[in-house]
């Protein structure tokens, strides 16, 4: 226990030790100050020239938004058709088939929006070309999109009144050339030297001691797995994701992958603090997020350590904790820590099967995705936090007797309207999705889809409900992890989660960008003694309360019917 716990603590501490100082470097990169990666400038100039981009052009938030959405639409079309025709394209040594249109639709959206929900298995569902040209490519650009989107809200924090918000293309390009590419290179090298495949050779074959012929899938995996974590993507090269022995061979690679995925969201926070010249604010946000993270991690570690009550009732001792669905080389605590890290951050990679987690851990994983703002995805984590912040600023501004202000800008009806819509949307997408699924399941169990609704669930009852809830929560949060145990490769799930993923990605980007654009264009009011400081622990507590209350109020009944009911009935 002590060794395992130390492993978890050390992993988290290394993450912080790396992330906090790197925040300043990334801040410098986005502000265009001289930095260690200036040698990339020629490559960037080439990209700008080829793309016809004027890097000096400062655009309005609307122009930047159009740029962001347009380029995403292009990637979607590209990815969709690549997946649809992958069987006819080269680099397919295993001869894998094409995707069905609904699966291609789901997969293209899933990777474009940094969600990485996978209704296929990498070994058989993709070719090396689509692994690299679609999946690996989208992992880079979707992560860079999120980082660039964060850079676009910076002006709302600065005193100067402006209608401009920077240049999306420049932020986007630099995010790739100076952050994601170098970072992935390091992580991929470590993984490759630890046994993760990095070749174009097809399946390997060996004969086991029992005399069976075993085919082992491989391919250009190390690079993909690196950006999968660094860019908080989470889509596995192999079906079993990071529980697969080649995707995550040892405890050491497990630590590297954990550090890689938690690092960038924290880096982006401190980069923001540098960009807006408010270190204290960055620390306050970091404090709130860390408090939320620890509140989810701690109960999960405890329950997983104590093992399953169902087994305990049988009188069987569980000295190793809850091991069902977990890898022996990682153990229950590291797996528990990963399960929360991957859900608060929108990675969604797994090194254990969440379906087998204890009921309480399942609630914590769900809550992590429902708030989606405790660290959150790289760049977009803060954007999610941002609309909570607007609501917190509004209510607490009223409570101290002033028209609410955020960094000198008055928060008024329009901003509140946008923040309310964004907050509303996650409830609508998750609850609406689950409600429709539950309705179809109960009232039309025999619809003729690839998997009949009656056969969707591996488990009945509360756990089955959790499986449905988890799938939509994960899609909306752009997390991409699966509770599994759900027959999800069919028309209903491919289309419904596809739509949820898309709205769950872009509305929480459009909303904060719009709010920031509106705020930046307002008159700046200097702070006075009557202004509420947003970088204090009191205000941090207020924001925390707003996040918890909104999440709890939106999702309590669903949680009660799923994991909570299971938890109490097992007890």
């Amino acid at each position: 226990m002590n060794t395992e716990l130390t492993g978890v603590v050390v992993t988290y501490l290394i993450t912080l030790l790396l992330a906090i100082p790197l925040g300043k470097l990334v801040g410098k990169i986005f502000r265009g100050e001289p930095n260690a990666f200036d040698f990339m400038a020629p490559l960037e100039r080439l990209i700008y020239r080829v793309g016809g981009i004027d890097p000096k052009l400062d655009m309005t938030w609307k122009q930047n938004l159009v740029a962001l959405l347009t380029i995403n639409a292009v990637w979607f079309v590209y990815a969709f058709f690549m997946l649809l025709f992958q069987d006819k394209l080269p680099l397919n040594p295993d001869g894998n088939g094409a995707m069905t249109p609904d699966l291609a639709f789901n997969t293209a959206i899933s990777f474009m929006v940094n969600c990485d929900l996978q209704h296929y298995s990498g070994e058989s569902g993709l070719t090396y070309l689509t692994q690299l040209g679609v999946i690996n490519f989208l992992m880079f650009v979707s992560a860079a999109t999120g980082m660039a989107a964060l850079a676009l809200v910076v002006r709302a924090f600065l005193p100067e009144k402006t209608s401009l918000s920077g240049n999306f293309y420049v932020y986007f390009t630099k995010a790739i050339t100076r952050v994601l590419l170098p970072g992935s290179l390091i992580v991929a090298t470590i993984l490759a030297f630890n046994g993760t495949p990095a070749s174009f050779a097809g399946k390997d074959q060996f004969i086991s001691l029992q005399g069976d012929t075993v085919n082992v899938s491989r391919g250009p995996a190390a690079g993909l797995i690196a950006i999968k974590h660094l860019g908080t993507n989470g889509g596995g090269y192999f079906g079993a994701n990071s529980a697969h022995p080649l995707e995550n061979p040892s405890y050491a690679t497990n630590m590297v992958e954990l550090i890689a995925q938690v690092m960038l969201p924290i880096i982006m926070l401190f980069a923001l603090g540098y960009l807006i010249n408010r270190k204290r604010f960055a620390w306050t946000v970091f404090g709130v997020m860390t408090a939320g993270f620890l509140l989810l991690v701690t109960p999960t570690l405890i329950t997983e350590f104590h093992g399953s009550p169902a087994i305990a009732h049988l009188g069987v001792a569980q000295p190793a904790g809850a091991m069902e669905g977990k890898e022996v080389r990682f153990g229950p605590l590291s797996s528990a820590y990963w399960s929360i890290a991957t859900t608060v951050i929108s990675t969604g990679s797994v090194n254990s099967m969440h379906d087998s987690s204890m009921a309480l851990s399942g609630s914590m994983q769900l809550l992590g995705m429902m708030t989606n703002a405790f660290y959150g995805g790289c760049g977009v984590g803060f954007l999610n936090y941002y609309y909570y912040l607007i609501i917190a600023v509004f209510i607490s501004g009223l409570m101290v007797g002033r028209t609410p202000e955020l960094f000198g800008r008055k928060v008024e009806a329009r901003e509140i309207k946008i923040a309310s819509i964004v907050a509303l949307l996650s409830t609508l997408l998750v609850k609406g999705g689950v409600a429709i699924a539950a309705y179809v399941l109960v009232h039309h169990p025999d619809v003729n889809w690839a998997v009949k609704p009656a056969a969707w669930l591996n488990n009945t009852g509360y756990h089955g409900f959790s499986e449905i809830l988890y799938e939509f929560t994960s899609a909306n949060a752009n997390n991409g992890s699966g509770f599994e145990g759900l027959g999800d490769n069919n028309f209903f799930w491919n289309v419904s989660t596809g739509i949820v993923m898309m709205l769950g990605r872009f509305i929480p980007i459009i909303g904060p960008l719009a709010i920031a654009g509106l705020l930046a264009d307002k008159k700046y009011v200097p702070e006075s003694a009557g202004t509420l400081a947003t970088d204090t622990s009191t205000f941090g507590l207020m924001t925390f309360a707003v996040i918890i209350i909104i999440t709890a109020l939106s999702f309590f009944p669903a949680l009660a019917l799923g994991p909570l009911a299971e938890y109490f009935s097992l007890k």
Partner: protein
């Protein structure tokens, strides 16, 4: 003079019986959906009530028991209806109080006979008409003992007027034509002299009429913060619609049938009905509190803006210092005896009626003044050109004509030097020293020979420094506006504790200062009375015009202070802050309440089909039905329980924003979490006796 009760004492009881009657009637009238739709939260409750009504009628007719018993459904319906009625009552009682307050002011201007003077007629040829017949532009005459029939501006004459009916202040005031104090208010009484007054407002369009209309709701518009909050509350309401609608298929999946009553109860409990029901009452009460402070706000927005004020422009005289300066010292010029100096000073002021002049005579003492004679003397009044005043004696000292003057250093020096005399540098130095100490030096000359300097000092109002300190803690910067020279202004500013000052201020300077502050993003408030203040009053975000001021000033400002009290701005700022705080804290309270309601209702919904969820029934409520009833009852009665708080407003404490947030979060946030657990449990104990 008859003792009048001051307006602030009028109707201090929160609920007067006659008001309650009106308010109850209004509560039912406000059920009209066309009116209620403006309040999205309560409107959805009304829809819920109607649905429950149908369910109840259906059960009564069909005897279907799957939706619960008839009694249970009827009770839920009634409680939901009560919830809407309570919210309506909150609004109605706030309106009734505001109206009563305004009416009590309006009573003073019931129909009175008016002595109307036709155009071109002499003042004596008047016809007596009713005040109701006066229209804008009419001229009427007022003589001692007359009640002034309408608001207007004096166009001829000067009179002392008893304004106690409006202000509660019993000391009579002087109003005269032409100056900044030319305005008279209907309902006040002329005590002496005759004045001719021109009517300035159409009947029914006075500020008071406008205020009454605002309070009554017809012309009440939501303020920007109220709109934003309504949107947020509507957002929460929509979230809970989704939550409750989705619950039906969830329950189907779990094989846990939910009754319509339970679903609607859950919904009504979750949506922020507490703040939704009290929101408009809070707004009206804010205007009403302003009115109680004898400030007529022309819009709710003005009151709300007052809470955001960053910079406050205050006139020195009357606000920071007590009215006028007083003589404190005589300094004789070199070679002049102190006794001669004092004699000259006293002589120059004997016939001077200004407070400064009187204070010089007072300081000189009766021993000196008794021996003075002003027989055959000519008073030289102060004019803006000469900037000096004094007296000419035909036979002064030694029977010779004597010209004594006192005035500002530079103007006296000009007189002295024009006469070819020497202006002693010692006097100059002394005058500067006085100014540097915040005083005003008056140089006294006798036949163009310098006698010495009189020191006049401003007396700073006791307690004013503390008030400015309070404002500073609110984050409001205070700026003193004065006609004094910069040295004097600086001294007084420091002594009184204001943050900045405008010395030798002209009206344009005020305007310029306001503009500069506003360019920096600040909101500025000022108070003014003169016509030349009007542009600045209009430019300021909150302009409070004094009721005694000119019509132009009153039109330009967005509030009118009936008391003509320059420190009123401070109160207005606090009223504005209270308004926002009350909204914020009740929103927090309302939303925090939901946690307990979830713990009451969710286990109750599923307890039959999912017994293990009983673990969530941490309040150990009696039964599913009593849990739902208790939650709905708590949700309903919390509204009337909070009406007093909504009407009075949550106290504002200038302890800094973060400390205030901590305090309010503790009281209304944590309180809002805990209170319903206790309340619902207590109600459940009672309900448990019957169910």
């Amino acid at each position: 003079m008859a003792q009048q009760s001051s307006p602030s004492e009028r109707g201090t009881a929160l609920f007067q019986s006659e008001l309650i009657g009106t308010a109850i009637k209004q509560s039912f009238a406000k059920l009209n959906p066309a009116q209620l739709v403006k309040n999205p939260v309560m409107f959805t409750v009304e829809i819920g009530t109607i649905i429950m009504l149908f369910v109840t009628v259906y059960i009564a007719l069909s005897g279907d028991k799957t939706q619960g018993t008839l009694v249970y459904n009827s009770v839920i319906t009634v409680i939901l209806l009560l919830t809407v009625l309570f919210a309506n009552f909150a609004e109605a009682i706030a309106e009734a109080r505001g109206k009563a307050q305004a009416e009590s002011l309006r009573k003073t201007r019931q129909e009175t006979p008016a002595k109307k003077v036709g155009s071109g007629q002499s003042a004596d040829a008047y016809t007596t008409v009713s005040s109701a017949q006066l229209v804008k532009g009419d001229v009427f005459l007022c003589e001692p003992g007359d009640i002034i029939p309408s608001d207007g501006e004096i166009i001829e004459g000067l009179a002392t007027i008893d304004e106690s009916a409006i202000t509660g202040e019993s000391a009579p005031v002087i109003r005269e034509a032409g100056g900044d104090k030319s305005s008279v208010t209907g309902g006040t009484k002329v005590l002496s002299d005759r004045i001719k007054v021109m009517v300035t407002t159409q009947p029914g369009e006075s500020f008071l009429d406008k205020m009454i209309a605002l309070v009554e709701g017809a012309s009440r518009q939501k303020t920007p913060n109220e709109i934003a909050l309504t949107i947020l509350l509507a957002g929460f309401t929509l979230i809970f619609i989704i939550v409750c609608v989705a619950l039906k298929p969830f329950a189907d999946y779990a094989n846990a049938p939910i009754t319509i009553a339970a679903l609607i109860s859950l919904f009504v409990c979750l949506i922020p009905t507490t703040i939704g029901g009290l929101l408009s009452a809070i707004g009206i009460a804010g205007m009403d509190r302003a009115l109680r402070a004898n400030v007529i706000a022309k819009s709710g927005r003005a009151v709300e803006t007052a809470g955001d004020i960053d910079t406050l422009l205050l006139d020195k005289t009357g606000t920071i210092t007590i009215g006028n300066r007083k003589a404190t010292n005589f300094y004789a010029a070199p070679g002049v005896s102190a006794a001669d100096m004092i004699r000259a000073s006293a002589l120059s002021s004997l016939a001077d009626e200004t407070p400064e002049g009187k204070s010089i005579v007072e300081l000189a003492g009766t021993d000196v003044t008794r021996g003075l004679s002003t027989e055959g003397a000519t008073m030289i009044k102060f004019t803006a050109e000469t900037r000096s005043s004094g007296i000419n004696l035909i036979s002064g000292r030694g029977g010779e004509p004597q010209r004594i003057r006192k005035g500002a250093t530079d103007s006296i020096r000009a007189i002295v030097e024009r006469a070819g005399n020497h202006f002693p540098p010692e006097v100059e130095t002394q005058a500067k020293a006085i100014a540097g100490n915040g005083g005003t030096p008056l140089v006294v000359i006798d036949n163009e020979h310098v006698m010495g300097v009189v020191e006049l000092q401003d007396i700073i109002k006791p307690g004013i420094a503390e008030r400015f300190d309070r404002l500073r803690k609110m984050g409001v910067k205070t700026v003193m506006v004065t006609g004094d020279n910069p040295l004097t202004a600086k001294f007084i500013a420091e002594k009184a504790g204001v943050d900045d000052y405008i010395a030798e201020a002209k009206p344009e300077d005020k305007m310029q200062y306001i503009r500069t502050e506003q360019t920096g993003g600040k909101l500025v408030a000022m108070m003014g009375d003169g016509t030349n203040d009007a542009p600045a009053l209009a430019q300021a975000d909150v302009g409070v015009a004094m009721n005694s001021g000119t019509q132009a000033a009153k039109e330009a400002g967005n509030m009118v202070d009936l008391d003509n009290d320059p420190t009123k701005l401070i109160e207005v700022v606090e009223i504005g802050k209270q308004l926002l705080i009350t909204r914020g804290t009740l929103t927090t309270f309302s939303i925090a309440n939901d946690v307990a309601k979830y713990f009451a209702i969710v286990p109750a919904l599923f307890v039959v089909s999912i017994p293990s969820l009983q673990a969530l029934n941490i309040m150990r409520l009696h039964s599913a039905e009593s849990a739902i009833l208790s939650a709905v009852i708590f949700n309903a009665i919390i509204i009337p329980m909070l009406i007093p708080l909504a009407l009075r407003g949550v106290d504002y404490k200038p302890i800094g924003a973060s400390a205030l947030l901590r305090r309010n979060l503790l009281i209304y946030g944590v309180g809002g979490l805990v209170a319903p657990f206790v309340g619902i449990k207590l109600i459940d104990l009672l309900v448990g006796l019957f169910v």
